[in-house]
């Protein structure tokens, strides 16, 4: 297994810049997620690491070796795609063995390694079955088996669960996690599904329009999004944004949204812009009759333990995650209070977060 270093990586297709000056390191044994919407450059980044695409500039190091210009087959990396491209005329055993057979590995060795991969994936009893009759989950396990047998330096996965339905995805996410625990392989995993990234990744890089907006552990990305894009993309429902005007200076502990004063974590940054945005996670919103933010309930969505309540206030639409036992009716007027020690402030122009006590790890209650 090996460390992957991506340095000043750049890729354009004609006038279109797919990946812009990308820098990150995937540590040995780490599960690293590239997360972003379609077209953000995450798959292109992965394809460059695999050697399926040549960068316009920049370099890629695998276990310290510069492999930027090396052919895919010479990189010792295994790629798992969204669509499990299995050979329909071969059984499971021959599908898994295929990469080894085509590399000219001796038959005895092939057998040992196929059995081992099957054991890791718990599909030993399927080895002699044709692939045509397999369920979606089993097909994906076979595809993973084909990657595992090669004992590569790293695994690259491009939305491997994208084609599965929700139920199976959840089970397979769990399985991938256990698999990673067992073999500890360096993995780069591309997904547009933030829940998948949060539950699988040791680290997540959030990409937008070819740029890596933030790299961090899942909780860090959620609690301290570096940009409005990250705050909006990670979390379901996403962070609420409330626009306001007012210049902030260090030690400020409140902001003025219109006539309303809102307590925030202490500001630690000099000279903010004038046009700002207050960021509030839905679980940090509560109902309070005496609260100054008032609005009409637009709709409620029951989720079992919790419900999402959408409220139209003067500043826009706010979503609150509340206990489902709380009776709420569409059309009623409510007051909204925000939990002060988790609020973020963003510069509306650049979209970047303004540093506060939150960034220095000060959190209360």
């Amino acid at each position: 297994m090996a460390k992957i270093e991506v340095q000043a990586l750049h890729k354009s297709f004609g006038d279109f810049v797919a990946v812009k000056d990308s820098n990150f390191t995937v540590e040995d044994g780490e599960f690293f997620c590239l997360l972003g919407p379609s077209g953000c450059g995450k798959t292109t980044t992965l394809r460059m690491i695999a050697g399926l695409e040549l960068p316009t500039s920049g370099s890629i190091l695998l276990a310290g070796d510069d492999v930027t210009l090396r052919r895919a087959s010479a990189r010792d990396i295994a790629f798992v795609f969204q669509l499990f491209a299995l050979y329909p005329h071969m059984n499971v055993r021959r599908n898994i063995a295929f990469p080894l057979v085509s590399m000219g590995v001796r038959r005895a060795e092939v057998n040992t390694r196929v059995e081992e991969a099957a054991r890791i994936l718990r599909i030993t009893e399927l080895l002699d079955r044709p692939v045509s009759g397999l369920s979606g989950g089993d097909r994906q396990r076979v595809a993973l088996g084909r990657a595992i047998v090669r004992r590569p330096k790293a695994f690259l996965m491009d939305e491997p669960l994208g084609a599965l339905d929700a139920e199976l995805r959840q089970a397979m996410t769990e399985e991938l996690h256990d698999l990673h625990d067992r073999i500890g392989a360096t993995t780069v995993y591309v997904t547009h599904d933030q829940i998948e990234a949060m539950s699988l990744g040791d680290k997540i890089a959030v990409m937008n329009q070819g740029v890596v907006e933030q790299i961090g552990a899942p909780q860090e990305i959620y609690d301290l999004p570096a940009t409005m894009f990250v705050a909006d993309f990670v979390g379901s429902p996403p962070m609420n944004f409330i626009r306001f005007e007012g210049r902030l200076k260090p030690h400020d502990r409140s902001v003025k949204v219109g006539a309303v004063s809102v307590a925030i974590p202490e500001i630690r940054q000099e000279g903010s812009a004038e046009s700002l945005v207050l960021g509030v996670r839905p679980e940090c919103v509560s109902f309070l009759d005496s609260a100054p933010f008032r609005g009409r309930v637009f709709g409620t969505e029951y989720l079992g333990t919790t419900q999402i309540v959408t409220v139209d206030i003067e500043q826009g639409q706010i979503k609150a995650r509340l206990p489902s036992l709380l009776p709420v009716r569409a059309g009623e007027t409510v007051g909204l209070a925000f939990k002060p020690d988790s609020l973020m402030v963003f510069d509306r122009e650049t979209g970047r977060a303004i540093r506060s006590a939150l960034h220095q790890g000060e959190r209360h209650g």
Binding site: P37, S38, D165, A166, E167, Q170, H177, D181, H192, D193, Q194, I195, M198, S199, A217, P218, Q219, Y222, D223, V234, G235, S236, P237, P238, R281, P282, E283, F298, G299, E301, Y302, L303, G304, T305, I308, T310, R321, S324, A330, R363
Partner: protein, 341 residues
């Protein structure tokens, strides 16, 4: 708007029983969601109501009128499919106007314009009326497809996984939108999905379908809090309900005949281990932002519970477990209700 009643409907395709003795009634203005996995018979049920299939047995009535033998056109239903089937060469306006320009309707163009505009406003696509249908995002295309069903003002809307080809963000947005439109119009909707979140958030009542039959029919809260059997209990809730063999937990309150105990993730409380209670070991902590999923091993069983993300729980730690409102199931998977319930 109209009510729908299915009585003992069955439909077979060769040896496959797609729908099995299905009885279901949907009141006027209700939003009913049929929830089930692929192949459960949900789509066939919709097609039977639409008249695209004819039942082998049983009857279907709309607004008290038996329509079992009537052709689709006579049923006044609108169908929205998973794949937005728009006319690519037409503008959004013309796509929406298409059903109104049917020779049977003979509507003047001014009236068509008024109705299209009204639906476009409702769906918030008024700004795109002049665009070619192919120049739209996925979400916009699906809105136009729904709009095309709306302009016809049918008595019933049948929707077959209309959101499943959209990304998560858009799905969440359109979920709320469809529900708002349904309330505004007082429309009767029968909606089919395999996505439990869609079912829970939109439905006035959910019908859980399994292998062609209706397993439980009730409000989202009834289905979630009081499932009839193991299948329904496991079908709703994310993460999935914890199912534990009863012999691992046998306590005084376990009813006779209980084989499986179900505990929702939010009903499995963790605390300091105390001498007499259940003790598990934390296997892994998953950070999902607004909450943590704590994976626990208890006597060989993998359990999941929810925890506040800022409460420190570490892998390897021993924790005391307590069950709140557990559900009991017998050997056949049927729910055992306690005397008090």
């Amino acid at each position: 708007m109209a009510e729908i009643a299915l009585s003992h409907v069955s439909k077979q395709f060769g040896a496959v029983e797609a729908v099995r003795d299905l009885s279901l009634s949907i009141a006027s203005g209700e939003f009913v969601v049929l929830l089930g996995p692929t192949g459960a018979g949900k789509t066939t049920t919709l097609r039977l109501i639409a008249g695209l299939e004819r039942p082998d047995q049983g009857g279907i009535s709309i607004d008290g009128r038996d329509v079992t033998r009537e052709p689709p056109a006579a049923r006044d239903v609108a169908f929205v499919f998973q794949q937005y089937s728009l006319y690519p060469h037409l503008t959004v306006y013309d796509n929406l106007a298409f059903p109104l320009r049917s020779p049977l309707r003979k509507l003047p163009e001014t009236e068509i314009r008024r109705q299209v505009q009204e639906v476009a406003d409702l769906l918030r696509i008024s700004g795109k009326l002049g665009n070619r249908a192919t120049r739209l995002s996925g979400g916009e295309m699906q809105r136009v497809a729904i709009g095309r069903a709306l302009v016809r003002r049918p008595s019933i809307y049948l929707m077959d996984e209309p959101l499943s080809s959209l990304d998560a963000k858009l799905r969440a947005e359109l979920r709320l939108e469809i529900k708002r439109i349904q309330l505004d119009l007082g429309a009767t909707i029968l909606y089919v999905t395999h996505d439990q979140i869609e079912a829970m958030t939109m439905a006035s009542r959910i019908g859980v379908i399994r292998e062609g039959g209706l397993v439980q029919y009730g409000t989202p809260r009834e289905i979630y809090e009081s499932p009839n059997d193991l299948y329904v209990a496991a079908r709703l809730g994310s993460p999935r309900i914890n199912l534990i063999p009863a012999n691992l937990l046998r306590t005084a309150s376990t009813p006779k005949g209980a084989e499986t105990v179900g505990v929702r993730t939010e009903h499995l409380a963790i605390g300091k281990p105390n001498g007499s209670g259940l003790v598990g070991r934390v296997h892994r902590v998953e950070h999902l932002g607004d909450q943590n999923h704590v994976h626990i091993e208890y006597r060989g069983q993998a359990l999941v519970t929810l925890a506040d993300p800022h409460r420190p729980v570490l892998a390897g730690e021993e924790v005391g477990l307590s069950l709140i409102d557990p559900l009991y199931f017998d050997a056949t998977g049927r729910r055992l209700r306690l005397a008090a319930e």
